[in-house]
Symmetry: C2
Subunit: 405 residues, 2 copies
């Protein structure tokens, strides 16, 4: 992991007039990394033409370590749980640093069931998460009705995950931006065109027009847009792809029913499609989300919006009388194996913090610590499944042809 090398580079940086770290991307990942590094004493510049305009701005903000757990991805589940455990302290520190509220909601998550096959699937998920030491319990129809009286009477029970919180993604982003500015982070509102290298070493970020933002370290946190940045290894860029999601924001009208419409995050499967409803303190409901392979397409499609509304109405009929305040489209930064790519990659001085797919907000505190450890030569955590080294090991025809990995 080059701890000695990192120390040498740091010593050089402290004598240099250039910024020590340039971060490409001012989404939640880029900002959480920038804040962590800046509060560790490094000079940080963040390059982004429109901070928060990507997936961070449209995300629902579920911190779903338990209810996103998959049997086939136990390593990823473990990392999610680790990052979730960081969240309460992280939110407190960020609120103190920014003077802003991030909207961490701790009521937990209900994964609702309709028919017997839903119940079987949820019972299986419950056993799995219990087996890896996580809390989740089955609650029946009567108790579900008591907790969430406005849910459809067709629902017969739910798996309750008390530890699956949510955070207001937009409040979080605003707080990170404020905390970064307080900590002295510089912002360059330009599109990064590439990572500049010299002698197989990153020397900064080029922006449109060719100007160089000089830096000793470059952190790439550009989400789905990472693949469009020049100077990155093909092993990285070929491992990433955008996964389109439609998401709706709703606000109850006076006809919707007694408020709040929901007290917990509610997830479910309807017509075989996953749907979730995330309540905010201000009564907003976030309704998501589709998953579509469409490349870099941000158009709002009638079928996707129709699916979301139809499925959500089956879970919570009261949404009929909510104002539809926003249709959002975001591009999740998907990776070939659904795990993020966090660590050193390609030229010396380059660190990846991308590919977080559905869990960028959940994984922000952990990612920030991993990247800071990498640059500062610490090692608080070991998450092998996030390491970029796995990229070159996979079979990839493009790599075999191009040979740039």
């Amino acid at each position: 992991m080059g701890l000695v090398g990192a120390g040498t580079r740091l010593a050089q940086m402290s004598r240099s007039s250039s910024q020590q770290v340039a971060v490409i991307g001012a989404g939640v990942i880029g900002l959480s990394v920038a804040w962590e590094l800046a509060t560790s004493g490094l000079g940080v510049t963040v390059v982004d033409p429109a901070p928060g305009s990507g997936a961070s701005g449209v995300a629902a903000g579920m911190l779903a370590a338990v209810t996103e757990a998959h049997f086939t991805e136990p390593d990823l589940a473990g990392a999610n749980v680790l990052s979730l455990s960081l969240w309460p302290g992280y939110a407190s520190r960020l609120e103190a640093a920014s003077g802003m509220v991030v909207g961490l909601e701790r009521a937990g998550t209900l994964v609702v069931a309709g028919d017997p096959s839903d119940r079987d699937a949820l019972a299986q998920l419950g056993r799995f998460v219990n087996s890896i030491g996580l809390e989740a319990e089955w609650i029946g129809a009567r108790e579900l009705r008591r907790r969430e009286p406005l849910l459809s009477p067709n629902l017969t029970g739910a798996l309750f995950a008390p530890g699956d919180y949510s955070v207001n993604n937009r409040s979080l982003h605003a707080a990170l931006l404020a905390a970064c500015k307080t900590a002295g982070v510089d912002f360059v509102q330009e599109a990064a065109s590439g990572v500049a290298t010299s002698d197989a070493t990153a020397i900064g970020v080029t922006i449109s027009g060719g100007e160089l933002i000089a830096a000793e370290w470059v952190v790439v946190a550009a989400g789905a847009w990472t693949a469009g940045i020049s100077g990155l290894p093909l092993s990285l860029t070929s491992a990433l792809r955008p996964i389109k999601g439609h998401i709706l924001r709703l606000s109850p009208t006076e006809r919707a029913g007694p408020l709040p419409l929901l007290s917990h995050t509610v997830r479910g499967l309807v017509n075989g499609r996953p749907v979730y409803l995330v309540p905010r303190a201000d009564r907003e409901l976030v309704l998501g989300a589709t998953s579509e392979e469409r490349g870099f397409d941000l158009r709002k499609e009638a079928g996707s919006v129709g699916d979301l509304l139809q499925d959500a109405r089956a879970v919570l009929p009261a949404i009929d009388h909510c104002e539809l305040t926003e249709i959002g489209v975001g591009l999740r930064p998907g990776s070939f194996d659904n795990a993020p790519v966090v660590g050193r990659v390609g030229p010396r001085g380059l660190v990846a913090a991308c590919g977080h797919y559905r869990n960028g907000i959940l994984l922000a505190p952990l990612t920030a610590e991993l990247v800071a450890d990498e640059i500062l030569g610490n090692s608080r955590h070991s998450i092998p499944s996030f390491l970029p080294s796995r990229l070159v090991e996979r079979k990839n025809p493009a790599l075999q042809e191009g040979g740039l990995g």
Copy 2:
């Protein structure tokens, strides 16, 4: 009808320095009236804070004299047919005067049927419209498929109304605005607060701040907002109410299928709810519309949008792959008996042109002629069902109490 009186007033006007006619409302009705009067040589001022921001801007633009015909409203059906007959010449004159295209589409309208009860209802509508001399013919599944191959295979036939055209409501409004300006119409972009009267005679329009736009005649064409204008008789304002409609605008993506997706206006009943799809020359599809009694509520509601998408998908599955470019909400100016109110009412010099409900665009040419005839002392048409005199004849507790009719 006061023909002599009208002549006297006209003689006075030509000696006056005030504008001869003030029109409240720059929607399609107000502008069509203003253009007709201005081209007849009168000085016209139109008062509207935001021309085209009301129902005219969100309407679909169907000219549905046949497919909106109702057994119970033969007089209204006759007026609709009369106005439809004016439309081709009207569109030509307007395009010549404005130098703009209004988007009159003449392919006709298909009212599609799913189950046998739909077919029965449409057969009955066909017999009714044929009985009043209108063209409509039943076409079977094979012919329907030939004409509109992308319609749902669940549809079993359609009533074809070749005379039910459509017009691009926004192009129409823009052309009317241009034609009015060319014809010398003045525009005051302020909200009208009331009709000013003196000695039981209208003397102009007061705007916010109290300023008077002096005029010899006042035409009220403020759509659903008419009831909020002071100085109007209660018999008029109590006869009107807003009827909320949601309407969507869609644009095919490359995944939607061969273009155009539709060649005709397509209407149908799905889940007991009416739905229509109106194609534009630029491939836009207008999808409408809900009918809701909600007062002056312009919020976009999730249930209404969900209903529209669900019903339209049942008619034309390809809309799944259309971009949802706009969710519109408009307030139709409904009247107590669904017929517009066109003619002299209340103080001398006041003419109503409101309450057009679902058919304002269809009825614009006829309304313009009726109002011009009223003011100029002509009588090209007689439409008793539009006359304001019917308002005072109806039983209305508010009128009996207030006694202002």
